[in-house]
Amino acid sequence: MFKKILVANRGEIAVRILRACRELGVETVAVYSDADRNALHVRYADEAYNIGPAPARESYLRIDRIIEIALRAKADAIHPGYGFLAENPQFARAVTAADIAFIGPPASAIQAMGNKVAARKLAMRVGAPVIPGVYDTLDDFAIVQAADEIGYPVMIKAAAGGGGKGMRRVDSSDAMLSSLARAHSEAAAAFGDDSVYIEKALTGVRHIEFQILADNKGNVIHLGERECSLQRRHQKLVEEAPSVVVDEKMRAAMGSAAVNIARAANYVNAGTLEFLVDKDSNFYFLEMNTRLQVEHPVTELVTGVDIVKEQIRIASGRPLSLRQENIIMRGWAIECRVTAEDPFNGFLPSTGKITNLQEPTGPGVRLETGLYEGMEVSLFYDPLIAKLCVWGETRAAAIVRMRRALSEFQIMGVSTSIPFHQKIMESTNFIGGHFDTRFVEEKFEMKHGGSEDKERVAALVGALLTHERRQTALTIPPTNTVSGSSWRKHGWKT
């Protein structure tokens, strides 16, 4: 086992990894930007080093500094978390070159799966279904011919792509040539590589992914699926495990496809295979995420496996202690990604200081967070501020528990996505399991309007606080703090 692990990340995921290390008895090193000096991950780690100014490119993306600090602090491993450098093969390579273990897949696997066309070809080679499309580099004329064969609508995507850039949907043959021209130029601008490919545009599909674990002895298992269809602009909002549309047979088929692809890629460590599933339960491999996934807790809650600890064990050279037959999903888990965004205002990022915080707890609730009172939510980093996860015996039990936990979660200082999550948990479509990847954007609407009862209480509280201030003002000099009241008006007393 490692003696000291550097966590090259911030926020809730850094704290998550530091907790795993503390439980494993491994010493920890945090790195932080100027904006994060007081962050929880800095306080939680055994050692902490500044790596530069607030912007990520000057701190959390600085490969050179991170490795320099790992060497200085004598860390023998680095965990990249997700985001930042987690899927950067240069980083994995530089870490390994410095004789430090990289807690993640080998650089070659990151690179191989990073090319979307190469990944799909690899999936096809092992017989995993992919979305009907043309993955070869063809000239535009051949692509148009192929599109006619596949049938419209089709998606044009950049081969080196990711994050929706260079992606466009084409509904008919007429628009194909002009769209291809624009896709080429966008791809060239974004990735320095103008090659594109086409895929059939599927509608009414779900986004379902499989978690896999692979050791460096060739053992590969999967931990079942996660349902991630609730998205907005390709950002996941709510995830659950298992999925209502996956039965045992389908799980076995998709799981074995996932394991076969990972094995063909010589994959080691934790990874996620993303699939689209259509209404007829056909599934298609989409891409692989070669890192720990944001939504890994839902899998942990239903399987009982601690994925971060497994990552660390695998990276330290240990064989998997789990076999496929040990993996049994029990109950149901849901995660809400709580972000500092205003759901009533087009999810506009919200910044400011967290002045008050009340966190949910109790049965079946797991909160992953880097929040604290006094924290500044800035625009430098991802708006994700907490992941609220629940487990229940059934999906229904998990949904009502999530409602309960959301009602307990109070954050003052920034707008958050909590009202959105509350609305989702009340939505009959969500409760019935009827949704696809377009659900949030096409069929879901956020409207203001709390209950009349609550508004009346708010009015009363405002009046009583003002009343108190008026009376206090006569005796002591007024301050700007709101506190200390204990006020009572009883017609009669119990």
Partner: protein
């Protein structure tokens, strides 16, 4: 002292000095209102119904969260209300309004033009910040007087983007 409380478009008349009770819009209620030890949390029992409030004062306004629902609350006593009534009539609904960048970012598009009449809620600017595109909307109906940015411009926090009349 009676208080007039404004939340959104609604008004509440609250009299904490009524005989043994608090009157809310004329109806008497038993109220037990406690601060939780110097924090921003309050417990309120209204006729034994239990509520929790989280309160933040911002100038003359309170932001009050009741069991997770957020309300912006304005309180006026009888005197100040009479004074303000004369002054502010309709002020919010007319006059110049400057849309400022709520964060640094990159202007992606400007779907309005000078002279255009826009309804409340019309998107004025699409601003890219972090990984997201954000639509900035008209807070009320009006006419576009100036457009000070164009697609591709990098803007600072607080920079004026569009001026409406």
């Amino acid at each position: 002292m009676k208080y007039t409380v404004l939340i959104g478009e609604r008004t509440y008349e609250i009299n904490p000095d009524a005989n043994h009770t608090v009157e809310i819009n004329g109806e008497p209620h038993r109220v037990d209102f406690r601060n939780i030890e110097g924090s921003a949390f309050y417990s309120i029992l209204i006729d034994n119904r239990s509520w929790q409030a989280l309160v933040k004062r911002e100038g003359d306004e309170y932001r009050i969260s009741i069991d997770g629902e957020m309300y912006v609350v304005n309180v006026q006593d009888e005197r100040t209300r009479k004074i303000q009534k004369g002054l502010s009539k309709g002020a919010a609904a007319s006059g110049e309004f400057a849309l400022k960048a709520p964060m640094p970012g990159l202007v992606r598009s400007v779907p309005v033009q000078v002279g255009q009449e826009v309804p409340q809620g019309q998107g004025l600017i699409i601003l890219e910040a972090m990984k997201m595109e954000n639509e900035l909307r008209a807070p009320r109906a009006g006419t576009i007087k100036e457009v000070r940015v164009k697609p591709g411009d990098a803007v600072e926090l607080g920079q004026t983007l569009v001026v409406m009349l």
